[in-house]
């Protein structure tokens, strides 16, 4: 019985490419992901809305000339015009097209949302991984810093930073990024601490693996799903934050975002004039994008986390 083990090994050259196998595996998991999203109607709806807004933001210059945002170029237009053929979403108090503001606003809001998220998740993941993996003194220092950022009331800090810095788009991204990373850091650190305890990390150490190897090959791949799920939840938060800052008048004066549209509509008295076409598109746009991200993010989280997946399997 056991003698089968002792057979000499075949001498034929082995045709196996680990890279090709990994690529095939990746393709298969993308297909799997697509299958899950297709099966989950809510996630699918979220994804469609998202893609629609992203496409609109990308092609903004093609469907709506930037000139439409300029008050000087809109001098000939009627002010406070209701939606019409010429102005599908009406005009504002300066005669500018609200539709143009909506389209260009999506561009800025989404850009800030994604850019700030990259910064937030980047800082948060780095701090979380370093803190969780190295532990001890490094961990204490980084976690005190994280706590410090966590307890500072976010909005006042953001306002102070936005006031000190120039009012540019990049500074808004920077303000959101440096103020919202602590929760990601905490989350990632907790996950790193669990993964670090796993036996396969022990095995890698016993094999002689260095820290870089362990982090790259074992910690990161097992923390990545959490980070990815965190991204989809951080984007809507960043968009909302940008809206808040813009509404408070802290945005880049040269850029139209949905928050800025709301601020201007409010300042021009759109509400008392009952000019719903001025503020409603931006407001609904924010709600739609945030909701779409949250729904898609939740589905993604379920798909990436097998424990949650079982539950979703039952629901279908």
């Amino acid at each position: 019985m056991s003698d089968t083990v002792l057979e000499p090994t075949p001498a034929d050259p082995v045709e196996y490419s680990p890279r090709a196998a990994v690529r095939a595996r990746r393709r298969a998991s993308v297909v799997e992901l697509a299958r899950h999203v297709r099966a989950d109607r809510i996630a699918l709806a979220g994804l469609i809305v998202l893609v629609a807004f992203i496409v609109m933001a990308v092609v903004a210059p093609l469907i709506s000339p930037r000139a439409g945002l300029s008050a000087v170029d809109s001098i000939g237009n009627p002010a406070w015009a209701r939606p019409s053929w010429d102005f599908p979403m009406g005009t504002d108090h300066l005669g500018r097209s609200v539709a143009a503001q909506f389209v260009w606003g999506a561009r800025v809001s989404l850009f800030v949302g994604f850019a700030a998220t990259i910064l937030t998740v980047g800082i948060g993941s780095l701090v979380g991984i370093v803190s969780g993996f190295f532990g001890g003194w490094t961990d204490s220092v980084l976690m005190r810093l994280t706590d410090w950022f966590l307890v500072i009331p976010f909005l006042p800090l953001a306002i102070v930073l936005a006031t000190i810095l120039d009012r540019s788009l990049w500074n808004i991204v920077f303000v959101i990024g440096v103020t919202s990373w602590p929760s990601t850091a905490r989350l990632v650190r907790a996950q790193v601490l669990t993964v670090k305890q796993r036996l396969y990390v022990d095995r890698a150490r016993a094999l002689g693996a260095g820290r870089t190897h362990i982090v790259r090959r074992h910690i990161l791949p097992n923390v990545a799903p959490l980070i990815l799920a965190n991204v989809t939840l951080a984007v809507p938060i960043s968009i909302l934050t940008e809206t808040t800052l813009a509404f408070l008048g802290l945005a880049d004066p040269n850029q139209t975002s949905w928050g800025k549209t709301l601020e201007e509509a409010f300042g021009a008295g759109a509400i008392s004039r009952n000019a719903w076409w001025y503020y409603l598109p931006a407001g609904l746009g924010i709600v739609a994008v945030v909701l779409a991200f949250t729904l898609f993010g939740r589905a993604l989280e379920e798909i990436l986390d097998p424990r949650l997946r079982r539950r979703s399997g039952g629901r279908r």
């Binding site: 019985m1 056991s2 089968t4 399997g313």
Partner: protein
């Protein structure tokens, strides 16, 4: 009347990828006070049988055939009746003692809970229930004041004892022990086995003991039942079966743990090639034939049912002569 009787029991799990037959027609009888050992490896359906007896399987599981406890069909019982049976008719001790106990409650409270659920049947009030908890703990070899401990304050062996105390709370006639010693150390395993044997003797408890270690069963049970791929492949009195197994799988299990001092097994561990079959994709014919060292051509096409070997002994193998 037998205490427990399984008649052509079939259990099928429903899953996304289709139906998985876990138990495929098992007949099993346990008399009052009898100890029966159920052996087999993971996935053979032995734990499913434990769950099926007390209707503890997931709701959408398909259970066919009948489970008669004291002559009554468990699957025809009303919820109230079933609850009564679950503790006072038959009780289960699971493997993994840590997960079966609530970590944030004192163990005394957890045992008492079982008692109070059946307080009416047992005729107990709160004070009596509390005293009974102490008695039960002492019965399984723990100090009565252990009732105030939390699960994490106890060792693995002590927790297993607590679970046994809980199972005994309502004086069941049948105790089902599903791998009760797998996670335990040798010495603690011996302690738990000795406790079970002692309880069995002085309470006349019937015991269904489930594990993959045939040598443990041999030392604790009167009868052995060996399962493979959802079916019984061999059964008979322990000593006879263990000393002279007739099914090649029974033989492999009996030899899996060597007899220390036996020159045949010195430097010569014996095992089976291959792996237990996937219940969702069983090989045709006798499901054991791909791993069998005495398989003949016939085995890949004909699935042999249990044949009489001698009085009280049966095995499902073509090599067993059919006696008429």
């Amino acid at each position: 009347m037998s205490l427990l009787e399984l008649r052509n029991l079939r259990v099928t799990y429903r899953s996304e990828r289709g139906d998985v037959p876990a138990v495929r027609g098992v007949d099993l009888t346990i008399e009052r006070g009898q100890t029966v050992g159920l052996a087999g490896e993971s996935g053979c359906g032995k734990s499913t049988i434990a769950g099926a007896v007390l209707r503890l399987l997931p709701k959408d599981t398909l259970v066919e055939g009948s489970v008669l406890l004291d002559g009554e069909d468990v699957y025809a019982m009303k919820p109230g009746q079933l609850r009564a049976v679950r503790w006072s008719g038959a009780a289960i001790v699971f493997q993994g003692a840590l997960h079966s106990l609530n970590p944030v409650r004192r163990i005394g409270g957890q045992i008492e809970e079982a008692l109070l659920l059946h307080a009416v049947d047992l005729g107990l009030d709160r004070g009596q229930a509390r005293r009974r908890v102490g008695e039960l703990l002492e019965r399984v070899g723990l100090r009565a004041d252990r009732a105030r401990s939390y699960p994490h304050q106890l060792s693995g062996g002590q927790r297993q004892r607590v679970l046994i105390a809980m199972a005994l709370a309502c004086e069941p006639d049948l105790l089902i022990a599903d791998e009760p010693t797998t996670a335990l150390d040798v010495m603690v395993q011996a302690q738990v086995l000795a406790l079970l044997a002692e309880l069995q003797l002085d309470r006349g408890l019937a015991l269904l003991f489930i594990t993959h270690d045939l040598s443990v069963l041999n030392s604790t049970c009167e009868r052995l039942v060996v399962m493979y791929a959802g079916r019984v492949v061999e059964e008979g009195p322990s000593r006879e079966l263990f000393a002279d197994p007739r099914h090649p799988y029974g033989r492999a299990l009996a030899q899996a743990f060597p007899t220390i001092g036996d020159p045949a097994s010195r430097m010569h561990p014996s095992g089976l090639p291959g792996d237990p079959p996937d219940p969702a994709a069983l090989p045709p014919g006798c499901p054991f034939h791909p791993r069998c060292d005495v398989a003949v051509d016939e085995c890949s096409t004909v699935d042999v049912s249990l044949r009489d070997v001698s009085a009280g002994r049966r095995a499902a193998c073509v090599h067993v002569e059919v006696t008429t």
